[in-house]
């Protein structure tokens, strides 16, 4: 793991009217690092993600991505800069097949002089899709089937494979396994491992303690809109019970006394 900081937030704050959903979040993510964001419902996890991905505009604070301060006007900006997000509501078009969804809005085309009527290069997209699925070890036997006919796990895998296919600089997953069965969850976790092996950084929002301890290097705990702990779990001295204590407010880490 390099010490190259890929994402940093300074004093990141979001108020919805009088509600302080996120207050002064200072956060750092190094290249290749996998971080889990945990916290109770309403602790500010999703709000935090929404500020980084440009879905909402922050009230205050700075986001530094790849060494440069950024101001995304929308999720597209963030995606173009290299932040791929798997949202809780999957942004998939049900009636299209897997390559179509993977390449939606950035199709490989031929005959580009035809403007909006330029031709789709189905074969190139199919090959890139197969390569992307191989990279993530996702197996969807018939990628030409429409998404509508797929299980929740398969759909989730397609959404995640989309991020992996495009060599994103940072992947964010907001509770990717919340609605999945055991096997499907295993599949998604495998993709996350593959990303780890490929050295691609990840922010994982999750409630699943087992998953977090198996997959990530560091846990950042949110409580009532503030970061209350930043725990390196690779050393093995931190247990699930410790994390629960931080989540519930029984403990607050040194340096984060503001959140108490």
């Amino acid at each position: 793991m390099s010490n190259n900081i890929i994402l940093e937030t300074r004093d990141l704050t979001k108020h919805y009217g009088g509600v302080h959903a996120l207050e002064g979040a200072n956060f750092k993510l190094r290249d290749g690092e996998h971080i889990a964001i945990m916290g109770d419902n309403g602790a500010g996890k999703s709000t935090f993600v929404r500020q980084i991905t440009g879905v909402e505009q922050r009230t205050r604070g700075d986001i530094i991505f790849g060494g440069k301060p950024v101001q995304f006007s929308g999720p597209l900006d963030a995606r173009e800069a290299g932040i791929e997000t798997v949202f809780q509501t999957l942004a998939l078009a049900d009636d299209l097949d897997v390559p179509d969804n993977l390449f939606l809005g950035r199709e490989i085309t031929k005959w580009n002089f035809l403007g909006p009527f330029r031709r789709l290069d189905y074969r190139a997209m199919r090959e890139a899709t197969l390569a992307g699925l191989e990279k993530t070890a996702v197996k969807i036997p018939n990628i030409r089937n429409s998404i509508r006919n797929m299980s929740g796990g398969q759909r989730q895998c397609v959404a995640i494979a989309r991020t992996a296919t495009f060599h994103s600089k940072l992947t964010i997953m907001d509770e990717p396994t919340a609605a999945l069965g055991v096997q499907e969850t295993a599949q998604v976790e495998n993709i996350i491992r593959t990303l780890k092996e490929a050295g691609e950084p990840l922010i994982l929002v999750s409630h699943n303690m087992r998953q977090v301890f198996e997959l990530v290097d560091r846990v950042v705990v949110f409580r009532r809109g503030r970061i209350c702990a930043d725990l390196d779990i690779t050393k093995g001295d931190i247990t699930g019970e410790d994390v629960v204590a931080y989540i519930t407010g029984a403990k607050t880490q040194e340096g984060y006394e503001d959140a108490a």
């Binding site: 942004a91 299209l96 939606l104 090959e127 197996k139 089937n145 509508r148 006919n149 299980s151 495998n190």
Partner: protein, 381 residues
């Protein structure tokens, strides 16, 4: 073909891992097995089967009904007539009578696939026909100056491209207004195009204060003479088929109808695309007006009545889902054929037009009910 080894490799590994799936706990496991029974059955096949069944039903009625003298609707076994066992004359009529509305239904199909609806196409045909014919008039009728002249002498005997371009420009304008209203003010497509329905009917009556426009140039009359409407319908159907299936435009139309938010998140300019979709639909309707007025050699303010509904019906019978995202040009063409066969069939068995309307209504409702049922089943399965 280059993709084949990669696919084989994946399928091969699939099989390998499928066999000892129970032992496998880490990489590459998941509930992703290939079930052939879940492979999508093309919707167009259902429409085709329906078309065949309807033809068979009319053939059976021709044999059963006592007053029909065992006649056949689409077959003629007296091969001396034109060397085929088909009743070519009737088949031509079946296709000819749906061709002009068929052209409209191609445009309506892509509107419905994008998740919208276009009610304005019928009156647009009326208005466009009036405008088009005004630029397509000939100077001398039986040695006299054209009695139906709309403009002064400058508008007589213009090259045929002028009326066509005038019609397409009018269609583009109406479509642009439709699309802009829907994309930018976010009013429902039903309301926007319902308003445009009345506006266009008004324009068609205002253009000549209700007077018909007649006596086109020979060139203009050639556009829709004989079987030409069928030729236009076929050419445009092929063009639209390629556009919807093989271009970015088509893919984005499906994506918007399927999940507009996902389309927006994926970077598609949804607003601009919708304007384009409605423009193309209206330009196709305007071209239908060119063909229709040429075929009839006259334009009247009341032309195109109920065409919008018939065009929507053809698309719906052809399996285009009113919720958007699903359907195809092939389906719509088959839907148009179903429409034509039913119309001709009722004439063939000598039933009155009002039964025709009742039957048509039943079939449209039936098509949507079946579609709903199929959709629920595929969601469950």
């Amino acid at each position: 073909m280059r993709a084949a080894p990669a696919i084989r490799r994946i399928i091969g590994r699939e099989r390998l891992e499928g066999e000892n799936m129970a032992d496998q706990t880490s990489h590459g496991i998941g509930g992703l097995t290939y079930d052939k029974s879940k492979r999508a059955w093309p919707n167009e096949a259902n429409v085709f089967i329906a078309l065949v069944l309807i033809i068979l039903a009319f053939e059976a009625l021709g044999q059963i009904l006592p007053y029909m003298d065992n006649t056949s609707m689409l077959f003629d076994f007296n091969t001396n007539r034109d060397g085929t066992i088909l009743n070519v004359a009737r088949i031509k009529i079946v296709i000819l009578q749906v061709s002009i509305i068929g052209i409209i239904s191609l445009g309506v199909t892509q509107v419905i696939i994008s998740g919208g609806i276009d009610l304005s196409s019928g009156p647009l045909v009326g208005a466009a026909a009036m405008i088009v014919m005004s630029f397509g008039q000939t100077e001398l009728v039986n040695g006299q100056i054209n009695p139906k002249a709309v403009f002064g002498p400058w508008a007589f005997d213009l090259p045929v491209i002028v009326p066509i371009l005038a019609g397409l420009a009018f269609g583009a304008l109406i479509g642009c207004v439709n699309g802009s209203l829907i994309a930018f003010t976010r009013i429902p497509p039903f309301i926007a195009t319902l308003g445009m329905f009345l506006i266009c009917r008004g324009i068609s009556q205002w253009w000549t204060k209700g007077q018909p426009v007649s006596f086109p140039t020979e060139q203009f009359a050639a556009i829709g003479s004989g079987m030409m409407p069928v030729v236009w319908f076929a050419l445009l159907a092929i063009l639209l088929f390629f556009i919807m299936k093989f271009t970015v435009y088509g893919k984005h139309t499906y994506a918007i109808g399927s999940n507009e938010d996902a389309a927006r998140m994926s970077g598609i300019n949804v607003k601009r695309h919708k304007v384009l979709v409605y423009m193309i639909a209206s330009m196709l309707a305007a071209f239908a007006a060119v063909v229709l007025s040429s075929k009839n050699l006259t334009a009247q303010a009341g032309m195109g009545q109920f065409y919008e509904l018939y065009a929507i019906a053809m698309a719906v019978i052809g399996g285009v889902s009113l919720t958007g995202g699903r359907g195809s040009i092939v389906g719509t063409v088959l839907g148009a054929m179903v429409f034509g066969v039913i119309q001709s069939g009722f004439t063939f068995i000598k039933l009155d037009a009002f039964y025709q309307l009742m039957a048509m209504g039943t079939i449209i409702i039936g098509a949507v009910v079946l579609d709903q049922y199929r959709q629920q089943r595929s969601m469950a399965g």
